[in-house]
C-alpha cells in the first residue's frame, strides 16, 4: 500500500514540486499546506504515515510534542533521525527538510522517501540561488551604470576609464565591483546632501 504523506511547507512553489515528485514515485500525498491553523486536528483527520516538514516551519515544536500526547493521535510520531541510519540528519538539516513518521515504520521505506524530499529541497534551493544571483547581477549592472555616470560627470572620464576606476577600486579593496559602485554612489549622495 502506498505511504500516505503529509507536506507542511511555507514555500508554495517548493511544496508543489515535492508533491509532484512524490506522486511520480508512487506515494499518496494526503495533505499539503503552507500554514496549518489547527495542525493536531488536521493530522488526526488525514492520518498520514509520514509528515515532511520544512525545517523553518514553526510547527515542528508542535509535532515534537505529539509523542507525549498520543491520545490525540493513536499513532505515535517520531522524528525520522531516530530510526534512520543511511541518511544523516546533517544532510537533511542542510537541505532544510525534516520529517516525522509513524513509529515502527521500516527504515528502508523512510529512507526512500527522504531521498526524494532531500533531492527536491536541494534542487529548489539551487534554483532559488540561481534566481538570486541573476537578480543581484542585474542589480549590480544598474549600480555600475549609475556609478560610471557619476564618475564621468564629476571627473570628466570616458565610460571606459570610469569602468577601469571601479574595477581597480574593487580589486584594491577585495570587494565586488557592484559593491565598489555602491560606495561611489553613496559618497556622491553624501556630497550632494552636504553641499
Amino acid at each position: 500500500m502506498a505511504l500516505r504523506v503529509m507536506l507542511i511547507d511555507q514555500n508554495r512553489g517548493r511544496v508543489a514540486i515535492l508533491e509532484q515528485a512524490l506522486l511520480d514515485n508512487g506515494y499518496e500525498v494526503v495533505a499539503r499546506s503552507s500554514v496549518e491553523e489547527d495542525l493536531l486536528q488536521r493530522i488526526a483527520q488525514v492520518a498520514p504515515d509520514v509528515i515532511i516538514v520544512d525545517m523553518e516551519s514553526p510547527d515542528r515544536d508542535t509535532l515534537e510534542s505529539m509523542r507525549s500526547i498520543s491520545r490525540d493521535q493513536p499513532r505515535p510520531i517520531v522524528m525520522f533521525a531516530e530510526k534512520s541510519d543511511r541518511i544523516s540528519i546533517g544532510e537533511a538539516v542542510k537541505a532544510g527538510v525534516s520529517a516525522y513518521v509513524v513509529d515502527g515504520m521500516s527504515p528502508g521505506r523512510l529512507n526512500a522517501i527522504m531521498e526524494v524530499a532531500i533531492a527536491r529541497f536541494r534542487e529548489f534551493q539551487a534554483l532559488r540561488n540561481e534566481l538570486e544571483e541573476t537578480k543581484s547581477r542585474l542589480e549590480d549592472r544598474k549600480l555600475i551604470d549609475k556609478a560610471k555616470g557619476i564618475l564621468m560627470k564629476q571627473k570628466g572620464m570616458s565610460e571606459d576609464e570610469a569602468y577601469k576606476v571601479l574595477r581597480k577600486m574593487a580589486m584594491d579593496r577585495n570587494i565586488k565591483i557592484g559593491e565598489a559602485a555602491r560606495n561611489v554612489i553613496i559618497v556622491a549622495d553624501l556630497l550632494v546632501g552636504g553641499s
Binding site: D59, R60, D61, I89, G90
Partner: protein, 434 residues
C-alpha cells in the same frame, strides 16, 4: 560543595580558534543578552564576528546546533539536558556555561475563563494558589476539557504550567489537555478560542493583554522566585574544538548581561529587541516587562515586578548545577525520563560553572564559589560570597534540596513517574558516596 573557582587571576589573552560564528536565537525578550552582545559591540570587543540567526522552532535550534549549522544558541534550559540524556529525537551531548536570565514567563487565560474563575471564587485572582483552586472548581463543572498551551516538551513553561496545575490537585495529563504551540501563534489561538490559556515568555503575555484578548493570571516569578529560564547551549564536541571561541562568547555575554540588567538601559534594550531581527513586536509591548510594568497588565495589586526579567544581578548568568537537577526532577515527574540516571553526574556533565568562572575572572565579574544551592529557603534577598542573591521561594512553600533529589521526586503527589524509584535511589546513593 565543590569549589569551582580557584581565585587565581589570569592574564593570558583569550584566543578564539574561530572568530566568525553563527548563533541561534528565538523571537523572545530573553534573547536580550545575545542581542546586546551583538548590537552594543561586546562580541566585537572579543574579536568575534557574530551573526545571529533567528530560528523558527526549538526543534530547529536543537537540530542545527547538533549538526553544526549553528555554533551555539539560545536554548530552553532543559534542552541541553534532554539532548545529552537522549530524551527526545536526538541524543547529542550538549553543555551550557551560561544562563541567559531568570524569570520572564507568565500564564495567560481567556477573559471568559477568568470570569468563570471569579464566579467560582471572588478572590481567585489574589494569588497563584487561589487561582489554581478556582480553576479546579471550574474544571469540575465543565463538560469539555480545557486546553492549555506551552512551547515545548522540555521547557520551563511546560514544567511551570504542570507544577501550578498539580499544586491544586489538577492532573495536567488527565484533567486538562496540554498542547504545544509556537510562541508567536499563542495570542491568535487564544483569540480563536482553540486554547483556553497558555504559559509563554514575553512579549506574548503582554500582547494578549494589550489587545484585550486575555488576562495574565500568574507570572513565573510568582510560581518560583528567580527561576532559571533560557541558557546558552553548545555541543560538547563544539566546545572541545573551540574552547577559546566559547570563552570569548561567554565574556562578551557577561558584559552584555551586565549592560542589559541596568534599569536605565532597559528602554534602549526594548528599542533593540522590538526590531525585525529580534522580537519584531510593538515597542510598548516589548518594553512593558523589561521596565517592570507587567504589574499593571496583571490588573492585580501585587508587588512591583522589576524582577520580571533578570539578566545579571543575583548571579543570574551562573549555571547552577542544582537548577539542572531540578529540571531532571521534572523530567522524571512527568514521565519524560524513564531510565534511572545519576542526577548529580548528569547535572555536572551538562552544566559547566567551571567554564563560567574562567570567563567571569577574565571579565572581572564576581563568581559564586559553590555550584549548587537549595531553592525555596530564601524569602528575602541574601548574600553569597559578596554577591546579592534574589529570593527563591516556590509558591507552594516547598523546598528543593539538591542533595536529596530522589526524595524530592518521591514527594510529588500528582505525577507520571515511569522510572523505577528503587533503581533511581540506588544509582544516586552510589554517586553520593563517591
Amino acid at each position: 560543595m565543590e569549589r569551582v573557582s580557584n581565585g587565581r587571576g589570569t592574564d593570558a589573552p583569550i584566543k578564539p580558534e574561530k572568530t566568525e560564528v553563527t548563533l541561534g536565537i528565538m523571537a523572545l525578550t530573553d534573547c536580550a543578552v545575545l542581542a546586546v552582545a551583538k548590537e552594543k559591540g561586546f562580541f566585537a570587543q572579543q574579536g568575534l564576528d557574530v551573526r545571529l540567526s533567528k530560528e523558527a522552532s526549538w526543534a530547529s535550534v536543537r537540530d542545527k546546533v547538533a549538526v553544526g549549522e549553528l555554533d551555539g544558541a539560545q536554548m530552553l534550559a532543559p534542552m541541553p539536558i534532554a539532548a545529552t540524556l537522549g530524551i527526545g529525537p536526538l541524543k547529542v551531548p550538549m553543555i551550557t556555561a551560561f544562563s541567559l536570565g531568570l524569570n520572564g514567563n507568565a500564564i495567560t487565560i481567556t477573559e471568559s475563563l477568568a470570569r468563570r474563575m471569579s464566579e467560582a471564587d471572588p478572590n481567585a485572582m489574589d494569588s497563584p494558589i487561589s487561582a489554581a483552586s478556582a480553576l479546579k472548581q471550574v474544571i469540575a463543572g465543565l463538560e469539555r476539557k480545557l486546553v492549555f498551551a506551552h512551547v515545548y516538551p522540555y521547557s520551563g513553561h511546560n514544567y511551570e504550567l504542570r507544577y501550578w496545575l498539580a499544586a491544586a490537585g489538577i492532573d495536567p495529563d488527565e484533567d486538562v489537555r496540554l498542547v504545544v504551540i509556537p510562541p508567536a501563534q499563542m495570542v491568535n489561538h487564544l483569540k480563536e478560542g482553540t486554547i483556553d490559556g497558555y504559559c509563554v515568555g514575553e512579549p506574548w503575555n503582554g500582547q494578549a493583554i494589550s489587545s484585550d484578548i486575555g488576562r495574565t493570571l500568574v507570572t513565573s516569578y510568582e510560581l518560583w522566585n528567580n527561576k532559571p529560564e533560557k541558557v546558552f547551549g553548545v555541543t560538547q564536541a563544539w566546545h572541545d574544538k573551540y574552547p577559546g571561541t566559547h570563552q570569548a562568547i561567554l565574556v562578551a555575554m557577561l558584559k552584555a548581561a551586565e549592560w542589559a540588567d541596568r534599569m536605565d538601559n532597559r528602554w534602549e534594550l526594548a528599542e533593540i529587541l522590538c526590531g525585525k531581527d529580534y522580537v519584531d513586536a510593538p515597542l510598548g509591548v516589548v518594553s512593558a516587562s523589561l521596565l517592570g510594568n507587567l504589574r499593571a497588565l496583571c490588573r492585580r495589586p501585587a508587588e512591583p515586578l522589576f524582577d520580571f526579567n533578570v539578566f545579571f544581578r543575583y548571579a543570574a548568568s551562573y549555571p547552577w548545577r542544582s537548577h539542572a537537577a531540578w529540571f531532571i526532577s521534572q523530567m522524571y515527574r512527568w514521565g519524560q525520563l524513564d531510565e534511572a540516571v545519576d542526577i548529580v553526574r548528569a547535572a555536572r556533565d551538562v552544566y559547566r560553572p567551571d567554564l563560567y568562572c574562567r570567563a567571569a575572572e577574565f571579565a572581572g565579574v564576581h563568581c559564586p564559589h559553590i555550584d549548587t544551592k537549595t531553592e525555596g529557603s530564601h524569602e528575602t534577598n541574601w548574600v553569597l560570597d559578596g554577591i546579592e542573591m534574589g529570593r527563591d521561594l516556590f509558591f507552594d512553600g516547598s523546598l528543593f534540596d539538591p542533595t536529596k533529589v530522589v526524595d524530592y521526586i518521591r514527594g510529588f503527589e500528582v505525577n507520571r513517574l515511569c522510572v523505577d524509584l528503587n533503581d533511581l535511589t540506588r544509582i544516586n546513593k552510589a554517586s553520593d558516596a563517591q
